[in-house]
């Protein structure tokens, strides 16, 4: 994409993240980009056209994350996946906050999102079952336990940004996010799984949790 359209998109995403999808007008986006509304309208006639472009950008980020070919044999691969999700949450916060508004005003985006979510829940579930067979996780102790676990992990990821804003627990932090997800697995590791976790993941988490310099 040429320079100006990209600048407009960046400005729009940043404003959506900050003020919410419903509260941003073309004028704000133009101001933030440092161009006139006329110039902006030349590139994107409506807010909906900007949204369409952002939706396409999102597809490029999300599709690789959800790809069926993506296998993560090691725990560290899942940790990397969590990093990718965290980046997505951070860069496109509005996509996780403004569900009601999105459903009302931009249904195409919302429908696509629902499909992503189905695949995401499916992928997490498949990953847990895979590692149950592999001897990384213990066999489930109650029917549906791991299906529900997959759901809960999806909830943690999807609502992470909202809970952060709602509970006012300060600055968003990748380490806390990852720790919260990994804590879900802690009680179900086999001794082998726990060994891999302590050797590979735990040092990684400590590194992320280091305060910024």
């Amino acid at each position: 994409m040429k320079a100006t359209p990209q600048k407009i998109i960046n400005a729009a995403v940043s404003l959506f993240n900050q003020f919410g999808l419903a509260n941003v007008r073309l004028q704000h986006i133009a101001d933030k980009t440092g161009i006139s509304v006329g110039n902006l309208a030349y590139h994107f006639p409506k807010k909906a056209s900007i949204i369409r472009q952002i939706d396409q950008d999102l597809e490029k980020v999300i599709e690789p994350l959800l790809s069926n070919e993506l296998t993560f044999p090691h725990l560290i691969d899942f940790d990397n996946q969590l990093s990718c999700y965290y980046a997505l949450l951070n860069n496109y916060t509005f996509y996780f906050l403004d569900l009601l508004e999105m459903e009302r005003a931009f249904p195409v985006m919302h429908i696509k999102r629902k499909k992503y979510i189905q695949r995401m829940v499916g992928q997490i579930g498949a990953w847990i079952r895979h590692h149950e067979k592999n001897g990384i996780f213990q066999p489930q102790i109650r029917p549906n336990q791991y299906r529900i676990l997959g759901h809960t992990i999806w909830m943690i990821i999807t609502f992470w940004m909202t809970q952060q804003k709602v509970s006012n627990t300060g600055k968003s932090n990748e380490g806390t996010f990852k720790e919260t997800v990994w804590n879900q697995f802690l009680p179900i590791f086999t001794p082998v799984g726990l060994m891999e976790y302590e050797a590979i993941i735990l040092p990684q988490l400590k590194l992320v949790n280091m305060p910024d310099l």
Binding site: L97, I117, H151, T158
Partner: protein
Amino acid sequence: MSQTKLKILDAALYLFNTYGLINVRLQHIADEAGISVGNLAYHYYAKEAIVKKIDEDLSKLLIPIISENRFFPSLIDFDNQLARYYHMLRNYSFYFLDLLELKRAYPKLYRKREVYIKKIIHQIENWFCFNVERGLIIPEIRPKHYQVIAHTIWMVITFWMTKPLDKGIPEEGERIFKEVVWSQVLPYLTDTGRLEFDLMIERLLDSYNPEYEVK
């Protein structure tokens, strides 16, 4: 409280839950209550006054639930606690769906809520620790582990009503709500705890309509 006031509050709550806090105007509330806007304004001068009153009602429900004196020693008491939360989620869904809007438009009400949130998480964590002492739950496998789990349980409760919207499915019902929360506790039960769970909770969960399934 007068009949009319009650009618107004019922109408407002219904509309907030159905259309969202932001999309409801006094005119809608008056129509739903079957009175004129003038009459409505006589009882409540602004939407803010109605929201404030509903918030007070909600607090009356919530405060006993999170009261520190509330003692819930056995697993069944925690289950009852979950039933109370679920009741609240269903009757005041707008309060959980419009979190950010509430924060933006009614910051004063919101500050109260932040205190509640801390109390809820703290209470759940205490419940874990108390049952460690009772021998129903295993000691923490890592320092502060139950604090993180309590936080996750709070997230499950708080976003339960948002979840269906996100996944495009209807709300899944009280049984599934309880199952998802209990699943957070399950891995930490001792043998004694598991026995109590199987005897008390499993039976109770089974008594709900079995057609419900996690989707």
